[in-house]
């Protein structure tokens, strides 16, 4: 018997392989997020004070909106050739499929952030290359992919899929978004871990709650 982790990793690795071949998801997420950032540099007078004030919000709003399009795309790819059903035919429990797909989505959004965040630093003239940023980005991406994978699987059969996913996804992740924006804002203002501790704890609680609940609930979503 191969372990569950091997199965999860196999699904994630397969997603990564497909992504390397057609580059659809990462390019759409990074491209969309960058566009948001660039448009804001025109829309707002970015002196140092303004950049610190609005920068974190713009960054995470951009990533959230871009992430939705990416999640949509990622699940559509799995449904196009009914390959999701092939996964469901495998003798594995459905929570492993969820965790594997969530891992794939996590990797995509993380890679997109590796492109977006440095460019954010350049455009907004803010120092973001700190360990705090890594922690914030990891926690937020984890929550995004946990909730996003669940809702993407749910909206896949909806007529207006492109509309439905953000409508479900964005309100639910609002607390996580607040945590990301607030801790980033603490960070660019040069404050320490202890100032953002409460927000990071909130993000951890959110991630744990939704990963557990989603894995538990996922089998009800797939079967029709």
């Amino acid at each position: 018997m191969k372990g569950s982790l091997a199965i999860i990793w196999a699904i994630g690795r397969k997603d990564l392989l497909l992504e390397i071949r057609n580059k659809e998801v990462v390019v759409s997420v990074a491209g969309f997020a960058l566009l948001v950032l660039v448009i804001f540099t025109f829309a707002i007078d970015l002196n140092q004070g303004n950049a610190k004030l609005v920068g974190p919000g713009v960054l995470w709003a951009g990533i959230a909106f871009a992430g939705v399009t990416g999640l949509n795309r990622a699940f559509a790819l799995e449904v196009e050739n009914s390959t999701l059903e092939a996964l469901m035919l495998a003798p594995i429990s459905r929570d492993l499929i969820y965790l594997g797909k969530a891992l794939g989505n996590f990797l995509f959004i993380a890679v997109a952030q590796i492109i977006v965040i440095p460019l954010f630093a350049v455009l907004f003239n803010l120092i973001v290359f700190r360990w705090e940023m890594l922690a914030i980005a990891l926690l937020t991406t984890l929550g995004f992919s946990a909730v996003g994978t669940l809702f993407a699987a749910m909206s896949v059969r909806v007529r207006a899929r492109e509309v439905m996913l953000p409508l479900l996804f964005l309100p639910v992740v609002t607390p996580l978004l607040m945590a990301a924006v607030e801790s980033t804002s603490h960070m660019v203002n040069g404050r320490s871990w202890s100032d953002m501790a409460q927000w990071l704890q909130l993000a951890v609680a959110f991630d744990v709650a939704f990963i557990v609940v989603s894995a538990f609930i996922f089998q009800h979503i797939l079967e029709d």
Partner: protein, 249 residues
């Protein structure tokens, strides 16, 4: 391992499945013994594909119970799926991965050992080894169907579920499929399939089950002998359904 003492490959009891206002399966009861090839027949929309999807655990029943080799599929999903191989309507393959990559990925999903040998054997059996390193996207529909068959056979399932496996296959491939199914039966395994080629199915099958109005209309243990009766029911059903549809609202 799921117990096989019951000697029934498939047992469905009062299965109901609706999709909104459409009733697909209605109090369906069915028992299929181990070691037979069963052909499911019926007009379009009679519920053949839905029944196969339920057996493959892709669709949940609204009510009733289904067990495979004595295990309730609602509670033993993974164990039942390990004993089952399915080829349904779509080939269900990743278009941007090669045949080998697809098979290797699914071998991981089925937790198989000696993957390379297994893939070599299976691809020879279904006749796809010349193009094993081509992307699935570049293959014809018939070829993709054969890859799907390889995926379904790789883990040596006890129960094979096939939804119109001949569609898109040339006559050579259909013969190859027949040989594989024969082999399967002779090694004591079970096949449940649907087909649109009734004549061919009746020759091959040990049992023919005609679905009508969401339940078993006719269950023949000797399709060759009952050929005419089946044909008759088949056409009678068609008439009664079309006459119903032509009634004014």
């Amino acid at each position: 391992m799921v117990s096989q003492a019951t000697q029934l490959a498939v047992k469905a009891e009062v299965v109901v499945k609706n999709f909104g206002a459409t009733s697909v399966l209605h109090d369906l009861n069915l028992e299929l013994p181990i070691g037979e090839i069963t052909v499911l027949m019926g007009t379009n929309g009679a519920g053949k594909s839905t029944l196969l999807r339920i057996l493959a655990t892709l669709t949940q029943v609204d009510s009733g119970t289904v067990s495979i080799f004595g295990a309730d599929i609602a509670t033993n999903g993974p164990a039942v799926r390990a004993l089952t191989g399915s080829v349904l309507h779509s080939p269900m393959l990743y278009a941007d991965m090669s045949v080998r990559e697809n098979l290797m990925f699914f071998a991981d999903m089925y937790r198989l050992e000696n993957v390379d040998d297994l893939i070599a054997q299976t691809t020879v059996m279904v006749g796809i080894e010349p193009r094993i390193d081509d992307r699935v996207r570049t293959l014809s529909h018939g070829f993709q169907k054969r890859v799907a068959l390889a995926r379904a056979l790789m883990h040596d399932p006890q129960l094979l579920l096939l939804d119109e496996p001949e569609s898109g296959l040339d006559s050579q491939s259909v013969d190859r499929l027949d040989r594989i199914l024969d082999e399967y039966r002779s090694s004591g395994r079970t096949v449940v399939m649907t087909t649109h080629i009734v004549e061919h199915a009746l020759e091959l099958a040990d049992r023919a089950v005609v679905l009508f109005d969401g339940r078993v209309g006719f269950n023949s243990e000797n399709p060759q002998r009952d050929r005419e009766a089946i044909q008759e029911i088949y056409s009678a059903n068609r008439i009664s359904i079309s006459s119903l549809e032509s009634q004014p609202q």
